[in-house]
Every structure is written in structure tokens, then in C-alpha cells.
Symmetry: C2
Subunit: 685 residues, 2 copies
């Protein structure tokens, strides 16, 4: 069954039929073979292939297991210089080295490749082998230079997963978790700044990096270092993908040390949203195609079209994400599904997944839809869930996020050595690091200056430096850059992106603790404080005053209309809606809303405030449901685990942290006290 | 881009190279095309294909969502005649009808198929389209009759998933969950009977069905109803796949009504194990290949080889499953991973998954390995987990099980209308139902007779009838039958199997309640009773006495050696191992074991007894860990959810059940009392 590459060209679709008919007759004779034997051989091969796939996947599972055990050791010894994602990369690198240079498993050559040259690339290919038909599905295009490597290096290629895997399987849970675990109160309080950093900032960063890289590419062309095409759109694309920051390492440390909640909210909110912006931005840049032959020149219409596409895709994905979130909220509100936590959790999971699929099926961006879906679920649906489902859903997505994240990072490490078409160009790499640095700076500092003009609660310079420093690149950047590695430019980008991710995760991630103390940023800030003082109503007013009109309007609309419609809480709609909406209002208002009317403001406030403590609603005190059926679930306030979420570790607070330093302004320095001894009435301002 | 089927034959590998070289030169000219345009078209097609895939998956997600909402209504109204799996099938059927007869989405014809006739079927196929290479992966063989349907009915084929999906993605969590949620105490108490039913019984059933079907096939051949080959091995294969019972519906009702625990254990244990037996049996039958030309005659050596393969694969899978379970137990015992529930849960999940992958990579059967892996995890590892991880792991696998099961069942419904090659033969179908009935009878009644000779606690005739009645066929039968539908015989089997599953699930599932009352089977049996009375030690002795020597020996070995080695409980190894093992024993014994030494028997007993209440360790009272760090997690004793696991619904007990009937022997009829009012000291004998 050994098979030399046997190229055979069919030519265009219209013409070759006659030639083929002749061929068929000509070659028919030599095709006679023992079908039964062939069949057995094919089955054996399929089995063999399946076994190898299992073994390959097992390598990754072992890697993740190893990562978990090591990171446990690190946590156990309270070593914070290396986050699990950084560790996963290191293990991936090691295995990559072994696979590349160590192992030489002789693989069955017959299993490798057959070149069949035809005139189209349909989704499904039927191959007629001596009268038996085999079905093949399109995996993707590979560059001509790869063809020989495909044959030679089947094993290395095997551990190269389909890049779409990242976008369709691994990224969605990560992004959904980010949305679902957003600290909504602080997020909304800083919404204006976050939106500015995420939208304006990412676009600025993209163009600054794109322009700088174009300069470097020009330079390389002058020096003759460039072996292929590298257009300005490629540079912009590079700018877009490396503008997606992923400070998971930094945020884990922030949560553990309870760094200032506003800084946390700014950083987390920005990183979550700029992922979405970067995805849509990069696809809009790819879609930039001027009409006519000269396909890489500037053309106003094409730019406008790209811009329109950006707006359309972003708002479409946003709308779909919010819509499915709202549907889930309504379903969970108007059914008594909460009596059956398993059904409820399953529904929640399925609806959240369908957000992604729906967006993809409609041609929008699933990852973006999932982000806003997650935020909507957290803001509305979460309040309708039974206590057990609250636990279950957040634990489920925490686990999925953890596994997906570490898988991606260990795969990244592996890829550095197993990817076949690396193009490492020193000039480009140096240029990229410089551009990434300057792009981040052009995002943070000018915008902070502008924002401070309007903010009561200034973004201080040490916060700005920290945000600058926390511009790590991670899963999203990697997934975007591996998606297409067909051209020379894309290969160079991919190799460079890998290095950018590695260095930022290791250096910036590992340097977070020293940087925190160098910048004298306050740690041990109890995020409960604000919410507790809200009971007397004064702090609440302060909060509202210090926020921009955007937040105030949104907050009023949300708490008067959306919350009462979508959840059991808030003021009854009968009191907030105009009187002519009476019947509808009565129909939509939950019976609980009337009961809660007296304490509605506190309820509402609590709702905004939940999600404190640990990032994933750590210490929500759960109320019994309306029928009084459910026992109150003792919320697991402790999430001393290794995800970006949830690190309110009592032990850490009392024993681990010596990093308390006085801050520059008039606030009293908080002395860390054991949990349970929190001073509830100390204001932040 | 439209493409007529353009067959083009390459012939044998050795010869055609010369012809091809000439061809290449001949046809090279007409292959020149605009690469850029081609590239864009291909990208568009890939995008289109992805969007369609998303839409297809969305159909299933919507189906599952609908199933969840409807089943909630059913549960809400306490309707028990239809289980969620039966409902999922109905919805699947409806959507299947719509897809088949209602929707005619015009699909891009260019995306369909290209016949490329070559001389082998490698795992990877490179297709050269005008100088660009596309990679295709082997999906599988399709029968010649399907080829035209592939072209005509792309959409219907699209919703036909890769059959291996069931084996590699959907079945493992179901089977693992079955193992992980086994009521181990009652399982081990009835281990002898369960093993007899599962091994002997399945083999008997397989051969009875196989022989009967062979009779029917002979008959069909006489009448001329047979349009293709149908060998005796095919009949045996059919016997093996329909011998896998799946009484998920019945067990759900059993749990809800608290039917006699021994009956539950017999039925559940048998159904779990006979899945494993059926998988290995069917693959052994497929592997039966006599040497020489006459490949379907009887040959002693081939039979022996098949038998040896059965033993080898089964014991290999068993060993691997147990081994990974033990490794996980040791890891969780000797690390303090329990301080980080997320890490612990992730490790548990990864290790359990690796059981499957490892077995597949070694050529054993992953599904079987996963079953024994799950049992080992439940028996040992579970005891080492932190309270939160106990919750998390069981909830996670409960959810996965629920989703996978309902996906399979709704897919089954869909398949009845969308599968392209149904062969419905009335004779075969009638014969199959008869054979399935007789095969089950030949399993249950003779074996029960034999077992009753040795059992103190007799399997009464009403229990036997119930076991006979509960012979539903489900996910495993379906997965085995869809795995290969290439030949005429396999297609007929697949169509018939679908009907068998439908009817048994709907009729036997729906008839469980009437049958329970008809057979006068006791409900409302509190499985806690035995364990509670165990405190005074008398019941414990009784339990041991009533069990066979197999159980006694296993029990002693397990509690004296395995438990202490693998968990924190049990007597210290220093007391059970011979003195020359001293250092090793001290090293392996957990510090807690010494502390617990005084109360070790109770501990041990509790361990055996946990997993009562709800099937998934519903009311395990969790102890604080050794450092006293963890708050005691209030165990969620209520699992009123819709999985086969966990239905100890207090409401059901007090309100839902009027099904209390006096049983034939001397036992006092239990009057159902609200939970919390259980009479602890009533013995079952």
C-alpha cells in the first residue's frame, strides 16, 4: 500500500470531462484489486490513526496534569512569580523540544499522503479506490512549501491541531467566563474609561503598531531581509492581533492580594473588551479588499466598507449575545426550573453555547457574542438561578476556563518547536517588541490624560504605569495569529507573536509583585467596604455622583425597567412603568418584587454589588426561594484555586501578604486583618 | 465552480506513475487559473461550511433546550410516563421529519463532491488545485449506493455526525458517570449475581438472539427477501449489540420511588457491566476472521482467537481503568491538592479522561476502561477529595451525562428520518423483537434460578419479571449499531436497532409504574436503614453472612489493604500488613488513619455505605479535613433533577407517591413518611 506522491491534474471543470472519460477506460484495468483485503487494510489504518490521535491528545492531558501538580506545589509554597499559564508554556516548550529533536517514531509511510491534483477544493471529496468510495473532508489549505514537510513530518503535524479548534472550542469558554465573572459593580462604575481604553485605545494601539511595523518592513525590504510579500494591511492585521491584552497572570495576583478594585476593574474590563474589539478589528482588516487589480492600495470606499463591517459585526454580535442572555433570563424567571438544578444548569449551559453558535451561523463573531452573553447572564439570569445552579454554573465555567486556558498556553509552548514554518526575522522581532510597547503606551497615557479631565476619581500615574505594564498578550493573540499561517507574512507574524506572548507572560507576569511594590500600589483593599456602607444610602449617592452620566442613565434604566422585567428583584414594574402599561407590567412583575418593595433599593444595590469578594460572586449570601423549598446553600466563599477568578484566600491574607505599603494620599493604610474582621464602615474616599 | 462527478482512476501504486507523468504534461495547460480568486472562493466556501455546521449544531442545542423545558413541565406536573430520553427522541423524530420532508435549503452545488479516483485511501490526502494544496482528512468509507445520495442530499448528510463521535465524545461521560455513581454497597453485596447476569447472561443473550436471527435470515433467504449478504457472524454481532441494556428510564423511576435497593443494584449493576461486555463481545465477533478464502465458515482456531481477544481486551481495559483510578487516588492522597478545589477537580477530570485515551491508545476499549476507572475513582479517590471537589466532580459528570444522553437520544430520533440507507425488513424486525424478548428471558430466568440456589436473599419472581421488563435498549446499542453502516446487513441491523430502542424506551419506560404496581414491588424503601443499623455491628455481620465468599474476601482485602493504601481511612497498614513491611506501611499510612483507628470499622462501613440516598452520594455528611481549614460543605442532599441519578425528592415522597402496596412476605409495609422522619432501626430482614 505504499504510495509515492502521484500528481494527477484535472484542469478546469468544464473541459476535462472528455479527457477523463478516456482515462477511465485506459486505466480501469490496473485498478482491479482485492476489495476485501483493501477494506481490512483501510480499517486497520483508520484504527491506527485513531490510536495515534488518542496518544497525541494524551500528551496534552499529561501536560495539563503535570501543570496542575506543579502549580499546586507553587501555590502550596506560596511562590507567585510564575502563573499556571506561564508554567503550562514551559512544559509545552519542553515537550516540543522532545518531539522535535528527541523522538523519531517510525510512522507507516502508506498512511501519509497522496497528491491528487484536481480542479477545485470542495468541502467533501469522494475518493474511489478500486470501486470502494472513501469520504474525505477539507481540512484546509497548506502552503506549497509545506507539502514535502507534510510527508516527512507527519507526527509533528499531527500534534498541530486545526486552528479553528481554538476559536470554536477553546476560546468561547474562556471569554464567556470572563464576561460571566466580571465584577459588575466596579465595571459599570468605570464603564466610560473602560470603553475608551477598549475601543479607542485598541484602535490607537492597532494603528500605532501597524504604522511602526510598516516602517520596519520597509527597512527590511531595503536591507533585503524580506523573502515575500508584506503589505500594509498585514502590518495593520499584526497591530490588531497583538492589541488584545490578556493580563490573566496579573489579575490572579491582583485578586489574591486584593489590589485596588478600580484598578482591577479598569484592567479587567479593558482586557475583556479589547479582545472583542481586536477580533472584529482584525477580521475587518482582512476584509479590506479594494476593487480592481491593485488589491493592496488605499481606497476610500474599501476603508469605509471595512469600517462599516466593523460596526456591523460588532453590534450584531453584541445584540445576539445580549438577546440570548435575555431569553435565558426570561426562561429562568418565568419557569420554576430552579426546582431542578441539573435541568437549570444544563439549560444555562446550552443557551450560553447557543449564543456562540447562533452568532457564527449568522455570520457574526461568536467569541464577541459569548462575551456579552456572559455579561448578560451574570447581570440578569444569575439572579434567577437556584443557589445550587449558581454554584454549579460558576464552577463549571471556572473549570472549562481553567482547562481551555492551560491547554492553549501549553499548546503555545509546544508550537514554538513543532510548527513547521517559523519565520524568525530579528529586525521584525525587535521592531514588534518596540511597537507593542509604544502601542500600549499610546493607548494608556494619552487616554488616561483625557479621561482624568472628566473623572472625579482620577486614574493616578502609578495606576497608569501598572496598566501599561499589565499589557500581557495571551490566548486571543495566539488564536488570532495561528488562524491563518498560509502566507509568508502571516508566518512571520505568528512566530513573532509567539515570542511576544512568551516574554510578556513570563516577564510582566513574573514582575507583577515587584512592580506593585515599586509603583506603591495599595493592596489588601476590601471590595466589600463600599457595598456595606451602602445601607445608609450615602455612599450610594457618592458612587452615583462620581460616575459619569453614562453610568447614571444606564443604572436608572437598568434598575427601574430591565431588572424588574428580567429578574425577580427590583421595584415592581407597576410602579415604574407609565400607567397605561398596567396589564403588561402586572404580567411581567414577579410576585417577589412586591414583597421586596420595601427594601428594593438595598436589594438592587446588593445585586450590583454581588460579584465582590472573589471574582465569581464568592460570598453571595443566598436567599431561600419563594416556595421555601430550597435549603440555603452555604456559599463556598473560598476559591483558593488557580484560575484568574477567585483567590480570596484567608490564609494568604493573614500569612502570605507582607506587601502592605503606605500610599501617597490621605487614605489610612489598611492593615490586613483576618477575614471576618473586616471593618465595614471605612470609606475609600 | 460547478463540478460534475469526474471519475479518474489511478490504478495500482506501482504502475501508474509513468501514465501520470504524461497526464501531468498533457493537462497542465488547462489548470492555469487565477490563484487569488480561487483562494477567496475557497475561503468563502470554508466560511459557508462553518456557518452551516454551526447552524446544524444549533438545531441540536435547540432540541435539547426544548427537551429540558418540556421535561421540566412533566416533572412539575409529576407526569412519569415519559422520561427525558424518550422525550428527546420524540423531538428528534419531529425535527427529522421536518428536515426530511419540509425544508429544502438550496445548497451550493460546488460545495458538494468531487470524485477523485485513486488507488489508495490514506489518512491524509493532499489535493493540488491549480498549484495550491488543500489538505483533506479521511472521514470514512461510504457504500457505492450512497455516492449519489451524497451529492443529492448534502444537508441530510450534514446532520449525520461521524459515528465515532458517539464512541469518543458522548459515550465516555455516560459510562464514566454510571461507574462513578454506582451504589457501591449494594453493588458489592450482589456482586456475584451481577457478574453472572452481566457476563454469562449477556453471552447467553447474544447467542440466543444470534441463533434466532440466523433462523429468520435463513427464512428471508428462502422467501427471497434478502438483497445482500447476511452471515452468521452478522447475526451474532446483532445479538451482541442488542444485548446491551440501558434501563435509564426505569432506574430514574426506581430512584424517585425508592424501589427496593437490591433490585436497583441488580438492575443497575447488570446494565452497567453488560454495556462493557457487549462492546468487547461485538468487537471480538467482528474480529472473527477464519484464515483462507472461505471467510464466513466455522473455524475452531478463529473462534479461540476471538475468545482470547475478548478476554484480553476486557481484562486489559479493566486493568487500565483500575490503574488510572489508583494513580488518581494516590495523587490526591499524597498531595494537599484538596486545598485548591479547582485544581483538584481539573486533575480528576483530566485523569478520568486520560483513562479513556490511554485505553484507546493501547488498543483496548476506552469505554470499558472508563467504566472501571469511574468505579475505582468512586471507591477510592472520592474519599480523598475535598468536600467541594466531591460536589463539583459529581455535578460535572452528572451534567455531562445528562447532556450526552439526551443528545444521543434526540439524535436517534433524528436519524430515523435523516439516515439515508435504511433497510426496513418486516420479517427481520418482527424476528428481532421476538429474539430480543427471548434473549432477555434466556438471560434472566435461568440465571436467577441458578443464583437463587446460592443466594440467601432470594431474587423473587416479581424481581425477575421486573428485570425482564427493564431490558430497555439505549445509547450503547445505538452507538454500536451506527458505528458501521457500510454493508447491507449492517444497514438492516441499524434500522431494526433504532426501532428496538424506540419501542423499548417508550413502552417499557412508560410502563414502569404500572408494572411496578402489577408486580407488587415494594417502593419507598429507605436505603439508609441498613447503614444506620450498622452502628451496633449486628447488621453488618448479617450483611457479610448473606453475601457470597467472593464479596467477603474482596471486602476484607479491600478494607484491610487497599483502602488504607489509597485513602485516608481504614485501619493503619502497620496493623494489617505483616511486620516486615513496617517501613513501607508507615510510609503509606495516612496520619488520619491512626487518628481514626478507634472508630475504623464505622468509618469503613460508612465508606461502603456512602452513595446511598441519591445515587450520587446524595447525603454524604462531609467531615472537615485534617487541617480543619475547610468549612463543612452542607451537602446538597436534594437532587430532584432529571438524570438517572439523584431523585430523593422529599415532595415526591410525601405528596407524589400513592404507590404503596403490601408485599407478599412477612415484612411490614413501610408507610411513607416525610424525610427526616425515617425510622432508623427497621431491618430489612
Amino acid at each position: 500500500m505504499t504510495l509515492a506522491p502521484s500528481p494527477l491534474l484535472l484542469g478546469r471543470a468544464a473541459r476535462p470531462l472528455c479527457a477523463i472519460a478516456a482515462l477511465w477506460a485506459l486505466l480501469r484495468g490496473c485498478g482491479a484489486q482485492d476489495g476485501g483485503l483493501e477494506n481490512i487494510v483501510t480499517e486497520k489504518k483508520a484504527e491506527e490513526s485513531h490510536r495515534r490521535d488518542s496518544a497525541d491528545l494524551l500528551v496534552f492531558i499529561s501536560l495539563l496534569t503535570l501543570t496542575i501538580l506543579t502549580i499546586w506545589l507553587f501555590k502550596h509554597r506560596r511562590a507567585r512569580f510564575l502563573h499556571e499559564t506561564g508554567l503550562a508554556m514551559i512544559y509545552g516548550l519542553l515537550v516540543g523540544v522532545i518531539l522535535r529533536y528527541g523522538v523519531h517514531i517510525p510512522r507507516d509511510i502508506s498512511n501519509v499522503t497522496l497528491s491528487c491534483q484536481v480542479n477545485s477544493s470542495p468541502g467533501t471529496l469522494l475518493v474511489n479506490v478500486s470501486g470502494r468510495y472513501y469520504e474525505y473532508t477539507l481540512k484546509g489549505e497548506i502552503s506549497a512549501s509545506e507539502v514535502h514537510e507534510v510527508r516527512d513530518n507527519e507526527m509533528l503535524r499531527k500534534v498541530t491541531f486545526d486552528p479553528e479548534l481554538f476559536f470554536n472550542i477553546l476560546l468561547p469558554p474562556i471569554i464567556f467566563h470572563a464576561g460571566y465573572s466580571l465584577k459588575r459593580r466596579h465595571f459599570f462604575r468605570n464603564i466610560g474609561s473602560i470603553l475608551a481604553y477598549a475601543f479607542l485605545g485598541t484602535v490607537i494601539s492597532c494603528f500605532v503598531i501597524g504604522l511602526l511595523m510598516y516602517g520596519f518592513v520597509m527597512l527590511m525590504q531595503q536591507v533585503g531581509q524580506l523573502d515575500g510579500d508584506f503589505f500594509f494591511t498585514d502590518c495593520l492585521f499584526f497591530g490588531a492581533i497583538v492589541s488584545a491584552t490578556d493580563p490573566v497572570t496579573v489579575l490572579a495576583i491582583f485578586t489574591e492580594l486584593q489590589v485596588d478594585v478600580d484598578l482591577y476593574a479598569l484592567l479587567f474590563g479593558e482586557s475583556v473588551l479589547n479582545d472583542a474589539v481586536a477580533v472584529v478589528l482584525s477580521s475587518s482588516i482582512v476584509a479590506y479588499q479594494p476593487t480592481g487589480d491593485n488589491s493592496h492600495t488605499f481606497e476610500g470606499m474599501a476603508v469605509l466598507k471595512s469600517f462599516g463591517m466593523f460596526l456591523g459585526v460588532f453590534s450584531g454580535s453584541f445584540a445576539l449575545g445580549v438577546a440570548t442572555g435575555i431569553v435565558t433570563a426570561l426562561v429562568t424567571k418565568f419557569t420554576k426550573l430552579r426546582d431542578f438544578p441539573l435541568l437549570e444548569t444544563a439549560l444555562f449551559f446550552l443557551m450560553s453555547w447557543s449564543t456562540f453558535l447562533l452568532a457564527e451561523a449568522c455570520g457574526f463573531t461568536g467569541v464577541v457574542a459569548v462575551l456579552f452573553g456572559g455579561m448578560t447572564q451574570a447581570h440578569y439570569t444569575y439572579n434567577n438561578l437556584s443557589p445550587e445552579s449558581k454554584d454549579r454554573t460558576k464552577q463549571l465555567f471556572e473549570l472549562l476556563n481553567f482547562l481551555a486556558e492551560n491547554f492553549i498556553f501549553s499548546y503555545m509552548g509546544l508550537t514554538l518547536f513543532t510548527f513547521q514554518n517559523h519565520v524568525f526575522n530579528p529586525t521584525f522581532i525587535v521592531g514588534a517588541f518596540l511597537a507593542v510597547f509604544l502601542g500600549r503606551a499610546a493607548n494608556i497615557y494619552p487616554l488616561s490624560l483625557l479621561l482624568n479631565l472628566g473623572r472625579r476619581n482620577q486614574i493616578r500615574s502609578n495606576f497608569q504605569h501598572m496598566m501599561m505594564f499589565a499589557g500581557l498578550r495571551g490566548a486571543m493573540t495566539f488564536a488570532l495569529s495561528i488562524r491563518d499561517t498560509a502566507t509568508y507574512a502571516r508566518q512571520m507574524m505568528f512566530s513573532t507573536t509567539l515570542l511576544v506572548v512568551f516574554l510578556t507572560v513570563w516577564l510582566c507576569g513574573g514582575g507583577t509583585m515587584p512592580m506593585l511594590s515599586f509603583l506603591r500600589i495599595r493592596v489588601g483593599v476590601d471590595s466589600d467596604q463600599d457595598s456595606v456602607t451602602a445601607v445608609d444610602g450615602t455612599e450610594r449617592r457618592t458612587t452615583k455622583q462620581e460616575s459619569a452620566w453614562l453610568f447614571r442613565h444606564w443604572y436608572n434604566f437598568d434598575s427601574n425597567y430591565l431588572k424588574p422585567i428580567l429578574t425577580h428583584s427590583g421595584p415592581p414594574l407597576t410602579t415604574t412603568l407609565p400607567s397605561w402599561c398596567g396589564p403588561l407590567a402586572r404580567c411581567l412583575t414577579s410576585p417577589q418584587a412586591y414583597e421586596n418593595e420595601g427594601q428594593l433599593q438595598d436589594d438592587d444595590w446588593d445585586m450590583m454589588a454581588d460579584g465582590n469578594g472573589s471574582l465569581a460572586y464568592g460570598d453571595v449570601t443566598v436567599s431561600a426561594d419563594e416556595a421555601g423549598i430550597h435549603t440555603v446553600s452555604a456559599a463556598h466563599a473560598r476559591h483558593p484555586a488557580g484560575s484568574p477568578a477567585g483567590l480570596l484566600d484567608g490564609d494568604t491574607l493573614t500569612r502570605g501578604t507582607q506587601l502592605v505599603m503606605p500610599v501617597g494620599d490621605s487614605e489610612p493604610t489598611l492593615v490586613l486583618s483576618p477575614p471576618g474582621h473586616r471593618e465595614p464602615h471605612r470609606h475609600r474616599e
